[in-house]
């Protein structure tokens, strides 16, 4: 009897501990799964607990006041201060918005990129979706009928202010489901001094890239990596885009259908893998993220890297003093390279329980008007070094910083990931897995064929 009781107790204990799962080895039961995510390049996630987590979206605050639940992603160390601290000229976004828009309250939470998917998914599963969400993806939410069409809440003058090529990225079946909040563009950054010392020009074709890499490798006797590649789960899809777009391929064909296993793509990824196996790159592209590469570039250990427009700020923040310049991404002979644009979005969720839908939509519109008002928006975009998504901000940004003009041109010509397609999650993870398997010795064509077959099946 005692034995049975002890066994039962032990099992209960096991149940309990297992349920607390995601935990850890005995050393640290305190590290829950999501917060244990490493690449925490930003400050800890939700340092600002929502003021009223339990408050219903449409809480009545003495009269006709509407409360909007807003989730904003943490782009950098200043985001929290801007929205909730004193980063907006001594005040913050929430206070300023509420004072200018009586009747609308914001329950705004800044969440780190590491946690935001977990937070949003959990809230949706618990029927507690935010009213306004800032995130990168939108197709799943739109396809499952969770989002409001943008035209329901966004004033026309604002909608017309967005760059049309940006808005096009958020359209499914002719309906706009989200608006871009900001963008960044990628370019090839190179260490000018290093290339001059070696006596080579920045490469514009794949063949030149190999020659230049060999020259750098020989000159520095392997002490400097000529070229950086990130094929991690963080950004492996970007690597896929850089090389396939530079070879006339890409995620989709001319009709917009998935074509991940095209001949151009296979050739492009085989080329990228050959750069690794020839020793021209950082040695562990499957685990060395873009931030590792940027660190190496800042430390003078890497000669060339494809990075977003914020790299100069990143390098100087790290104490690096690199004489750098930008160039177009190298492409295969006779092909044109295309820069990669990355865009995040703002979207509004439906809330059938809201007593007055029109008033709610109007409140969401007020939020957007305030957010994109050049007086507020220019500060927000330039604060973290991003590129704007609305025309009205361009003049002010270019006036404040000359380099913006060049980047806006890049942005004008770049391609975006096909995030409006429902299978994007699967494709993104699929191409990363294909790249990583190829790095471990797998065959590129059979990897991509398998992914394409999954997408067709």
């Amino acid at each position: 009897m005692k034995k049975t009781l002890a066994l039962a107790l032990a099992l209960v204990m096991a149940l309990g501990l297992a349920a607390c799962g995601g935990g850890s080895t005995p050393a640290a039961t305190q590290a829950p799964a999501a917060t244990a995510a490493p690449a925490a390049t930003q400050a800890p996630a939700a340092t600002e607990a929502p003021k009223a987590e339990e408050a219903p979206a449409e809480a009545s605050d003495g009269g006709d006041s509407i409360t909007l639940d807003v989730i904003i992603c943490q782009y950098g160390p200043n985001t929290n201060d801007w929205f909730l601290g004193k980063g907006m000229n001594g005040t913050n976004f929430v206070d300023k918005f509420e004072s200018e828009n009586p009747g609308v309250k914001l329950n705004l939470e800044v969440v780190s990129w590491n946690d935001v998917y977990t937070v949003v998914d959990t809230r949706i599963a618990n029927n507690n979706a935010p009213d306004i969400l800032n995130i990168d993806v939108f197709a799943n939410y739109a396809n499952e009928g969770l989002l409001l069409p943008v035209k329901d809440y966004c004033p026309d003058d604002l909608l017309n202010d967005f760059f049309p090529s940006f808005i096009d990225q958020s359209v499914i079946d002719g309906t706009v489901w989200a608006v871009p909040d900001l963008a960044s563009a990628r370019a090839l950054f190179y260490n000018v001094d290093m290339l001059e010392e070696v006596g080579v020009e920045v490469p514009s074709t794949w063949a030149e890239l190999q020659d230049v890499s060999q020259a750098i490798l020989d000159y520095y006797d392997g002490e400097v990596y000529p070229w950086g590649i990130d094929m991690t789960t963080d950004e492996g899809q970007a690597a896929f885009a850089y090389y396939t777009w530079g070879n006339g391929g890409g995620f989709v064909d001319d009709n917009g259908d998935w074509a991940v296993n095209s001949d151009e793509n296979v050739e492009a990824i085989e080329y990228a893998i050959s750069l690794v196996s020839d020793g021209f790159t950082n040695p562990n592209p499957a685990t060395q993220t873009r931030y590792d590469l940027q660190d190496m570039f800042a430390a003078g250990k890497l000669a060339m890297v494809i990075a977003p427009n914020q790299l100069p700020t990143y390098v100087s923040d790290k104490g690096g003093n690199i004489n750098m310049a930008t160039a177009a991404l190298p492409a295969n002979e006779g092909k044109t390279g295309s820069s990669v644009g990355v865009m995040d979005r703002v979207m509004a969720f439906k809330d059938d329980s809201a007593p007055d839908q029109a008033a709610r939509n109007e409140a969401i519109g007020k939020f957007l008007k305030f957010f994109y008002d050049p007086e507020n928006y220019v500060g927000w975009v330039s604060m973290e070094g991003f590129l704007p998504a609305v025309n009205s901000a361009v003049a002010a940004l270019v006036a404040s910083d000359d380099s913006f003009a060049a980047w806006l041109n890049v942005l004008d010509s770049c391609q975006f990931y096909p995030t409006a397609k429902a299978e994007w999650d699967q494709v993104k993870q699929g191409v990363i897995a294909a790249e990583q398997n190829a790095l471990a010795g797998g065959d590129v064509r059979s990897e991509l064929d398998a992914l394409q077959a999954q997408l067709m099946g």
Binding site: G21, G23, T25, A28, A31, A36, T232, A286, D425, N437
Partner: protein, 294 residues
């Protein structure tokens, strides 16, 4: 009589808060996960209809499933097995009287007292090829002439993960065993010495049987903890390349929040839970039967 009945129920009254807490925060979530594993879950996380065992069949037919299960087995066996062995040996050593014993004990607890994410990040820096401490140290000592890529393949990376797992788990085993060792009456060893018993004989016939309860506790807890361990693998490789260094816990996290296959991820977590119950239950049963026989 009423008084007696009161006495009989009183212990349960004291236990009630714990029972309520366990029911709300442990049993209820477990039941929810079981229910979810039989339901269709959309990419955005909306729970749909009952779909029987489809999530389970989807989970086990994932291409990475076999690799992940094999990794998990190696991970648990190597970390639990070797940390138990090393922990036991270290406990025997620091149970001896020597100068600085207290300092050694204090140092030993460091790996255990530090957050796993920090530990794994630090080890990432130590074995970094470009400017890692290990390469710097060996280069400065003149032991190597060229930096070594300590992460030359995913197999090697997985071995590193296991090594870090062992490193952080050893202190726990050591202190469990040490508590068992300190409860052994020294007169037993004196009597055995008088009878002419050697080191191995005393270890086998006195030490091991008497620390078995401590070893049982540490092993069962370790199986559960190590199986569920997330931070080391996630921080060091995120399962890359292509799930080849994933264990079950990191795999199901990636499956849920990166691949957005929440149904199969939930099914996998139930499978993991059942495996753990089975392992822990079987181990306890086996050990307790032995103890009773003994």
């Amino acid at each position: 009589m009423a008084n007696l009945t009161g006495k009989k129920w009183r212990p349960y009254l004291w236990l009630l808060p714990s029972i309520v807490l366990i029911a709300v925060f442990v049993v209820y979530p477990i039941l929810i996960v079981f229910r979810l594993s039989f339901s269709e879950i959309s990419k955005a996380g909306i729970v749909g209809d009952f779909i029987g065992f489809r999530n389970y069949s989807d989970a086990v037919s994932l291409p990475a499933f076999k690799t992940v299960m094999r990794n998990t087995l190696w991970w648990v066996l190597s970390v639990v097995g070797l940390s138990t062995l090393f922990g036991f040996i270290i406990a025997l050593v620091i149970n001896q009287r020597f100068h600085g014993r207290k300092i050694v004990r204090a140092i030993l607890i460091f790996p255990w007292a530090t957050s796993l994410v920090i530990q794994a990040s630090v080890w990432n820096y130590i074995i970094k090829y470009e400017y890692g401490n290990l390469n710097n140290l060996l280069l400065n000592l003149g032991i190597i002439r060229q930096a070594i890529n300590w992460r030359s393949s995913y197999q090697v990376e997985f071995v590193w993960e296991c090594a870090v797992g062992i490193f952080v788990t050893v202190p726990f085993v050591t202190f469990c065993v040490l508590s068992g060792l300190q409860s052994i009456d020294s007169s037993l060893y004196e009597a055995a010495t008088m009878d002419g018993a050697g080191f191995w004989s005393k270890l086998w016939n006195i030490t091991l049987p008497l620390v078995r309860p401590s070893l049982t506790v540490s092993t069962v807890l370790n199986i559960i903890y190590v199986f569920n361990s997330f931070p080391i693998v996630y921080t060091m490789t995120k399962g890359a390349p292509a799930n080849k260094t994933d264990t079950m816990i990191t795999f199901l996290y990636m499956l849920s929040f990166y691949d957005r296959k929440k149904g199969p991820a939930t099914a996998l977590s139930v499978i993991g839970f059942l495996i753990l119950c089975l392992c822990a239950g079987a181990y306890m049963f086996f050990v307790m039967r032995k103890e009773e026989e003994g």
